[in-house]
């Protein structure tokens, strides 16, 4: 069985994206002060990425809502974490 990219894998899931409200937001000022950035490795959906300027980018659309980022983040206030509003977010059909 071939390895699948994260985009391919997330593509199998059903998401009901909330276009009006991001359930996780990053405070870039605080995020910038972090040297370890464990979220880059720990997020199972690989939604945390550094752009060319070395700044953290995050796309909440493919979030699996596990909470790993809020737990591994070492900088208080860098991540504002909540569940998506009711009905929005990932819909597991198998679980």
């Amino acid at each position: 069985m071939k390895k699948l990219s994260i985009e391919e894998r997330l593509g199998f899931n059903k998401f009901n994206v909330d276009d009006d409200e991001a359930h996780i937001t990053i405070n870039k000022e605080i995020c910038r002060t972090c040297t370890e950035k464990p979220c880059l490795y720990a997020c199972p959906a690989l939604l945390y990425n550094l752009n060319e300027a070395g700044e953290m980018t995050f796309d909440y659309a493919g979030c699996l809502e596990c909470g790993t980022c809020r737990v591994v983040c070492q900088k208080q206030g860098a991540i504002q974490w909540n569940y998506p509003r009711g009905i929005f977010g990932v819909q597991f059909r198998y679980g």
């Binding site: 069985m1 390895k3 894998r9 591994v72 198998y94």
Partner: protein, 433 residues
């Protein structure tokens, strides 16, 4: 504000929430379950296997109607290395006898079924609603929940809102989760024809297999792999201590792909089609991470309360969740009789859990999390050592043979393990697990 006051509002329609709702509704109490997913189960995932005993208490022979996948009759523990694997395999016909012991499950269907059971008993289930906060009276006592613009009143709130339980935090029962107390689980559900699964895992009919892995699958990081056979899918994944992933600088999303393509795993899933990729946190700190479980007007149950046991060869969460849901419901029923919803009255919950397998088993395995954190050789050296020893044992190349003892001693030396280390880890392990 609605004038209606429920006997109990339960936040979260997972196994803990629905077990509580079912128990309360059967006793004739007014229950509202609030679930953020579009349906019960649509936000939930498991490895997974359900040990039957707790649900059996409230729905005898539930497997006759519940959407369970397969009953587990085969248990395998595997140490995996880059080039091989060493397994202990146990298959028993005793698991084919009723009452059945454990089942593989997929939560989207299973949780929806259990929520429907609660609904049929009289509980009101509101789905697609996110609870934002707890509602308090002037004295600060919890009297309900706030969801968006709505406030809903209850004598008691049961927070069964999962491992991230924002409500347990808002109630002041728990601080932030620590990254060494939780593990990140990732899973792929791979579809295969039923017959193919049965042939590959040597199963017949409703039989199922459960397999846990340690070693290469996590590249030596604290954690392990799992594989469960469902009816016509295989659940395969990894669970790794969240704090250890960041330190290792290895992406868990990549590790699961590596695991799946390991030469000894690939033949089990080949030809299959991935139909879902999911992730979840697992509270693995055991007894040492448990928060206070109740306060005035509030009880917490299931993953929200951190009720999970991981011994390395066995992972349990749903049976503890279901029992804690039942115990929380019994506490609310008793509180209603006395019309006392104070912290003192609700302490009955702690008593019920203390006298049950929940706290007794957590107590028994309280040193397991520390043992696994400290004994890093389990995840690195020992799998390779076992591989090397068995390779030598089974291999003939015409070179002079060696007795078992000097061969094993030689391998220990090569891996820089003294007999003392081995005995020490062994004794610690036997005591903790």
């Amino acid at each position: 504000m609605s004038e209606e006051r429920f006997d109990c509002i339960i936040v979260g329609a997972g196994p803990a929430g629905s077990a509580a709702a079912l128990t309360l509704a059967r006793a004739g109490l007014e229950v509202l379950v609030i679930e953020r997913g579009l349906q019960a189960g649509s936000k939930n995932m498991t490895g997974g296997r359900l040990y039957a005993h707790a649900l059996q208490k409230i729905i005898p022979n539930f497997w006759e109607e519940a959407p369970v996948e397969r009953r587990v009759v085969k248990e395998t523990i595997t140490m995996i290395t880059p080039s091989g694997s060493v397994s202990l395999d146990y298959k028993s016909q005793r698991y084919n006898q009723e009452p059945y012991h454990s089942f593989t499950v997929l939560r989207a269907q299973f949780d929806q079924w259990l929520a429907t059971k609660a609904e049929e008993a009289g509980a009101v289930i509101a789905t697609g609603v996110r609870v934002d906060d707890l509602l308090r009276d002037d004295q600060g006592k919890i009297i309900g929940v706030i969801a968006g613009e709505d406030q809903m009143l209850a004598n008691v709130v049961i927070a069964a809102d999962g491992v991230n339980s924002l409500l347990a935090q808002k109630a002041g029962l728990r601080g932030e989760l620590k990254d060494i107390h939780v593990a990140t689980g990732v899973k792929e559900v791979i579809e295969l024809p039923r017959q193919v699964i049965e042939d590959r895992f040597q199963l017949t009919g409703e039989e199922g297999a459960a397999q846990l892995f340690v070693g290469r699958c996590t590249q030596g990081i604290q954690g392990g792999g799992f594989l469960y056979t469902n009816k016509n899918t295989i659940s395969i994944g990894l669970v790794i201590t969240s704090g250890a992933i960041g330190k290792s600088k290895i992406k868990i999303a990549d590790l699961i792909e590596e695991f799946k393509t390991h030469p000894n795993i690939a033949p089990l899933v080949t030809g299959g089609k991935v139909v879902e990729y999911s992730a979840h946190l697992v509270p693995e700190g055991g007894l040492n991470m448990l928060p206070a479980l109740y306060t005035d007007g509030l009880l917490i149950a299931g993953d929200a309360a951190g009720l999970v046991l991981n011994t390395g060869y066995m992972v349990r969460g749903m049976d503890l969740a279901i029992y804690s849901g039942i115990a929380a419901a019994q506490t609310v029923i008793k509180a209603k009789e006395k019309e006392d919803y104070s912290k003192t009255s609700l302490s009955h919950y702690q008593e019920l859990l203390k006298n049950s397998f929940v706290m007794k088993d957590l107590e028994t395995y309280k040193n397991a999390p520390a043992f696994m954190e400290q004994t890093t050789r389990i995840f690195t050296t020992y799998p390779q050592l076992a591989d090397n020893i068995l390779y030598k044992l089974f291999t003939v190349y015409g070179t002079p043979a060696q007795h078992l003892l000097p061969m094993v001693m030689g391998e220990l030396k090569k891996n820089n393990i003294s007999i003392f280390d081995l005995v020490k880890d062994g004794i610690k392990g036997v005591r903790a697990l």
